[in-house]
Subunit: 84 residues, 2 copies
């Protein structure tokens, strides 16, 4: 795998797994009032469109990265609603 | 512009502007303790790598989307540190 693909893969991995610590912190502290509800809804709508975009193009990295990020943010939204 | 490009543009716009309401909420409430510090650092590192990736490829949409998202998250991180 060449440099540019490794770079893209590292970038996609980081922007995806970044939401794991947010999920665990919200789960642990049982508080997400400082996490913007409008941010979550807007971000998740965008991620869903990226997912559709990846599916139409048949681009597995786009599907994987956005699918996992969407799933993690769905859990964060659920925790935010649960602990409000 | 065809459908697939419009879809990608809409997706990129949403995942970018999503951080505006987070920035305004943090600025207004002067609190971001529920926003994970590790999330911000990991996400911003990923966004920076996407920015370099876009620059190497000369891909303006990747540069624009990730540059603006990185800038907004930098402000959120600054507000989080300021109001801790």
């Amino acid at each position: 795998m060449d440099f540019i693909n490794t770079l893209g893969l590292a970038a996609g991995t980081l922007t995806t797994i970044a939401f794991l610590p947010q999920m665990f912190q919200t789960w642990k502290t049982k508080s997400a009032k400082d996490v913007s509800f409008v941010m979550l809804i807007t971000f998740m709508t965008g991620l869903f469109l990226w997912l559709v975009y990846g599916m139409i193009l048949g681009a597995v990295p786009i599907i994987m990265a956005n699918g996992i990020t969407l799933f993690l943010n769905l859990i964060i939204l659920w925790l935010k609603i649960k602990y409000r």
